[in-house]
């Protein structure tokens, strides 16, 4: 008996967004397969059991990075972390490549995608807080057309986003800005985060904390002073989970620390 880890599943590889949308619409239990670096694993554990996988890897229009004249980045959701790290265009918002370079390892970065990262809405992922801090917008397509959802409204819960049945993220737009920071306490270098924070000091100071709730928690400290940032995080009355890596109380402490570090990095860049 050959090794067989996954439950039976059907598969299709569309070549256009329209085809993907119609497959997702027509099949109950259909799920989009992006880089697969999360989904294939949770399917092995039977934590997810889609009936149909709609593989997005054959859709050229979901890849690529464009830089608009006003500095806005338009990123195809099937763009891999490695492509973001290497992209000349993506350097318009340097924090993107910097954070992607901290995700997992070479193999995962070569397959894993920005769209998969945000759509899986795993609270320990790097990109949900980053997308919220930089003010990204997700374009979601369905048979009825397109709508745009700000990152702050995109993440709805653990593994839940604003993307509904029969819908697909087709673009992630990121406004210009260079004064950003990111800090995390991972389990081993570039490992899963215990707590992370992304900060943006382009205009008003905004911090988004990850791993402390179902969705990124936004804090807007009145100044970049470390004590002020820490006080603002305390005032947010976070209710993080306890697990084998950190108690809730320790996570609350770390949230203050990484928030202050991320803000410090962002504000130093704002001074340069």
């Amino acid at each position: 008996m050959p090794a067989m880890l996954l439950r039976e599943v059907e598969y299709a590889r569309p070549t256009s967004v329209e085809q993907a949308l119609s497959l997702l619409r027509e099949h109950d239990g259909a799920r989009a397969l992006a880089g697969g670096q999360t989904l294939i694993n949770v399917m092995k554990a039977r934590a997810a059991s889609p009936d149909v996988l709609v593989d997005l890897n054959g859709i050229a229009q979901l890849r690529g990075i464009d830089l608009d004249p006003d500095g806005t980045l338009r990123i195809g959701p099937m763009t891999t972390y490695t492509e973001l790290i290497r992209s000349v265009e993506a350097r318009a918002r340097p924090i993107l490549g910097e954070v992607c370079a901290q995700i997992a390892d070479v193999q995962v970065r070569n397959r894993g995608t920005i769209g998969g990262n945000v759509c899986s809405s795993d609270p320990t992922n790097h990109l949900p807080p980053l997308m919220v801090a930089v003010g990204a917008e997700m374009t979601i397509a369905s048979a009825d057309g397109e709508r745009t959802v700000p990152a702050a409204d995109f993440f709805l819960g653990v593994y839940m986003t604003a993307v509904g049945p029969g819908e697909l993220v087709t673009r992630i737009s990121i406004p210009p800005g260079r004064h950003d920071g990111f800090a995390s306490i991972p389990i081993g270098k570039d490992g899963t985060c215990i707590v992370n924070a992304a900060a943006s000091a382009n205009g008003d100071l905004r911090v988004a904390l990850g791993c402390v709730g179902a969705v990124p928690e936004v804090v807007q400290p009145p100044s970049a002073e470390p004590d002020v940032v820490r006080e603002a995080v305390r005032a947010a009355a976070l209710d993080p989970p306890s697990d084998v890596h950190a108690s809730a109380a320790y996570r609350r402490h770390l949230a203050e620390v990484v928030a202050a570090r991320a803000v410090q990095q962002a504000s130093e860049r704002a001074r340069d």
Partner: protein, 168 residues
């Protein structure tokens, strides 16, 4: 236009063609089959190892269309039409690659279980970056776990294979 055409049918199994180390294989595979199981069980190329089944250990690393991937985190049907390199494709006959010889010279393996994945990761690194820094070497094998060597001898072997001097 592709966009206006009907979507492809959903299939529980599919006939695919993959080229592995220069040989073309055609097989019918179930959609749920992982690439690593096609390689090992269907094609009997057992150099590629399964260490963890959870995408952590890197023993199943192969080079797919020039890109290093873990073959346990890909469906076999996704590799349809792809060109794959596995550890069996590195040496020419009995002639080890410089990297493989360096692994031998620097005792970069003990039990050998992680070695195929390590060799594929290091091969991918040296193709893109023929003279990597110490940090670049360390980061290149971050996705490959070795429980025997403590990594130092692997690190030295990769550095030596890149033509840089290493301590004995």
């Amino acid at each position: 236009m592709e966009g206006s055409s009907a979507p492809p049918a959903v299939e529980a199994s599919k006939t695919i063609t993959v080229e592995i180390n220069g040989t073309s294989y055609e097989r019918e595979v179930e959609a749920r089959r992982l690439l690593v199981h096609l390689i090992r069980d269907d094609l009997d190329l057992t150099g590629t190892h399964v260490g963890c089944d959870t995408g952590n250990c890197g023993a199943c690393s192969v080079i797919l269309d020039g890109t290093l991937v873990k073959s346990c985190m890909l469906l076999a049907v996704q590799a349809d039409g792809a060109s794959i390199e596995t550890v069996e494709g590195l040496a020419e006959e009995d002639q080890l690659t410089e990297l493989q010889q360096a692994f031998s010279d620097h005792h970069a393996l003990q039990c050998g279980y992680c070695t195929p994945g390590m060799l594929m990761s290091a091969t991918a690194l040296l193709r893109e970056n023929p003279r990597p820094s110490d940090d670049e070497i360390a980061r290149a094998i971050q996705g490959n776990i070795c429980r025997c060597t403590g990594y130092w001898n692997i690190f030295k072997a990769i550095k030596a294979a890149s033509g840089q001097e290493v301590e004995a």
